[in-house]
Assembly symmetry: C2
Homo-oligomer: 204 residues x 2
């Protein structure tokens, strides 16, 4: 998308510069491919800006997103070796969160998800990163593993210039209400409709 002109200039007392640098809460939702992929593309763009980026993946299979994980961690390596770009961290629930001493409890995904969210809350309070990718985080919200009102309150009141993108289907209306930008990926045509199976490099 090219740099657009706003449709209206708001009477919010902010300067253009302040509005330009307003931290965004973004939601990528809808039934179709591209929600997470666009979020990781955004992370690549943030990397180029030198941002500190943290990905929190609320998924159970270690197989998913391995390409994006590998790519973003390779960019983190470039940052460490050359100073180009910014640092990237990748945390996933599937195999037990990296900061946790206990392995992932296959028996209690709800507790694992809540532990991930508590860590995100701590980091948001410290303004630790400039971009947080909360991948598939709509599901712990939908399933009641984390409290939606608490999530929305934490995100609305986060300090500093922290951007957050949440991905997943069925975003809660309260999250949509709180978000600055919401994109819905909708299906026009998908190869699985005609029997195509998911394939390496395309689906994961």
């Amino acid at each position: 998308m090219p740099q657009g002109q706003p449709e209206a200039v708001p009477a919010d007392g902010l300067t253009t510069r302040q509005r330009r640098n307003r931290p965004l809460l973004m939601v990528h939702t809808g039934p179709m491919k591209g929600k997470s992929t666009a979020a990781f593309g955004l992370a690549m763009r943030g990397w180029h800006q030198g941002w500190s980026i943290a990905v929190f993946q609320f998924v159970k299979s270690a197989r998913w997103r391995v390409g994006e994980e590998s790519g973003l961690l390779a960019l983190n390596g470039v940052h460490e070796q050359t100073g180009a770009g910014g640092p990237v961290e990748w945390h996933k629930m599937g195999s037990g969160w990296s900061w946790s001493r206990k392995p992932g409890t296959e028996a209690d995904h709800a507790a694992d998800a809540l532990e991930g969210w508590r860590e995100i809350q701590r980091r948001l309070a410290e303004a630790r990163h400039q971009l947080y990718v909360l991948d598939e985080f709509t599901y712990p919200m939908k399933w009641g593993w984390v409290d939606v009102d608490e999530v929305v309150d934490t995100l609305r009141n986060r300090p500093g210039g922290q951007h957050v993108v949440v991905t997943g289907r069925d975003a809660d209306p309260r999250l949509v209400e709180a978000a600055d930008l919401v994109v819905e990926m909708t299906k026009v045509k998908h190869p699985m409709d005609t029997g195509q199976k998911g394939q390496r490099g395309i689906e994961w």
Copy 2:
């Protein structure tokens, strides 16, 4: 998106393995953010698979997508130095195509676009890459700078296992018809609606 089960098993005489490795023509269209970003996220995933990737950017401003260009070229550097991932090439119309001896003719975008498409045709005929990102390529099609029927014919009949993703608004119905997968990015909410300006790291 998790690995899904197809909704139907087609009577196309192909094995599951053949269907799994079928080269895809993908289109990311619609009015909202995420079309290109998801395509570059897909390129990052393909990089991890060791694919040869070529991006062709049909845009005029050198500023756009600089983050993704930088990120993907850094991944190409990782590939060259360590052998990890695959090679990535990034070609853009804005400053004159890289293979062209003449600089970009600001006066004749139509000729520049057609020159880019001719190069893509040559590479497709040679099966040079495994993933082509034709960024904002819907516009040269829309504006008549390239012939839509010819594009569709070339893409339908491309040899080998070459994946292609085309991004941009207003995808031609003939391209949609030929595509295996079409995602539309639709707007639920955008900060420009309330006067937010595009910002570094988010829009470009």
